[in-house]
């Protein structure tokens, strides 16, 4: 019998908070002969590529986490020959010094490619610290490789891409600032009217 395995021991994140997305291929019936929509059978390779731009407003990007999870056939806790799950991520980033280029996110290639994978040794997560990026374009590729033979299936069940930001001090919302400003001006106006309505010593009011 060939039991189904999970990526072992998902490590905890190095970041207290992450902002981004968990992409979740649908697995309706996991198992060696189950059904899922990102499932590689014997001799098959499935790949999906995702791209997007992220722009920071009122904060910066100081970290990134790339993570995958999946299920795959094993024998004696070793993935069957040919089986693998992988993720690769490339960044192009901008900083505040790049001015108007930030929104396009096409300023500087980040030389450090992020990778995760099941083999040669399980490495389901990669956390990287970044230096106050103001925007970035992200290109990532996730793949599932089926076994060399047999009828077992490899599933990709999660592809996570999250960003870390500096810990924020809680501040009032913009609407609160607006109300505060209007209130102060109104109070000032009333005080001004009150002062003008009181006759002064010269009797000119």
């Amino acid at each position: 019998m060939t039991p189904n395995g999970n990526i072992p021991s998902q490590p905890a994140s190095n970041f207290a908070q992450l902002f981004g997305f968990d992409f979740l291929p649908i697995v309706t019936n996991p198992g060696p002969n189950g059904t899922g929509n990102f499932a590689a059978r014997a001799g098959q390779t499935l790949t999906m590529t995702l791209g997007y731009t992220v722009v920071a407003t009122g904060t910066t990007i100081t970290g990134n986490e790339l993570r995958i999870s999946g299920q795959f056939p094993v024998n004696n806790n070793v993935p069957l020959p040919g089986v693998n799950l992988t993720g690769v991520e490339n960044f192009t980033f901008c900083t505040a010094a790049d001015g108007s280029e930030q929104d396009a996110g096409n300023c500087h290639p980040f030389p450090q490619q992020q990778t995760v994978g099941l083999l040669p040794s399980p490495n389901p997560v990669t956390d990287v610290n970044l230096n106050n990026w103001t925007s970035a374009t992200v290109d990532k590729t996730f793949s599932a490789f089926g076994p060399n033979s047999g009828n077992q299936i490899v599933y990709l069940t999660l592809a996570r891409d999250g960003f870390a930001v500096p810990q924020q001090v809680q501040a009032p919302e913009p609407s609160t600032w607006s109300l505060l400003g209007i209130s102060l001006v109104a109070i000032g106006g009333l005080a001004w009217r009150r002062r003008k309505s009181v006759p002064d010593k010269t009797g000119d009011a």
């Binding site: 929509n37 722009v55 407003t57 924020q168 209007i182």
Partner: protein, 109 residues
């Protein structure tokens, strides 16, 4: 509209000879709002990202994208999503779900 109403209200109770002062107050209000905007207190943000959906949902947002609040008045705006898949019976963008990450990361097995 509210600011104008305040200005008109204040001005209506003054004599005609004090029109200059009324306009002065109105200008003060406008300058106050401008100052708030200049420090970023009043900004236009992209719509908040839906908490769940499919990759097709994100693609449909186009260049406007959507934003995730990171606290402290900051946000990350995600836009221009693209998706491609290859392989036998591979799912399309409408068949892969997503869930937003917006805080402590969910634990996995």
């Amino acid at each position: 509209m509210t600011l104008r109403s305040i200005s008109v209200f204040v001005g209506a109770r003054e004599g005609a000879g004090k029109m200059t002062k009324r306009f002065g107050l109105s200008i003060g209000l406008l300058l106050s709002i401008a100052a708030l905007q200049s420090v970023g207190a009043v900004q236009a943000f992209a719509d908040s990202c839906p908490l769940t959906g499919t990759i097709q949902t994100l693609e449909n947002l186009g260049s406007g994208g959507c934003s995730i609040d990171v606290g402290g008045g900051g946000s990350l705006t995600f836009s221009n999503f693209t998706f491609n898949s290859t392989g036998p019976n591979v799912p399309n963008a409408g068949a892969i779900n997503f869930a937003v990450l917006n805080g402590p990361p969910r634990a996995l097995r």
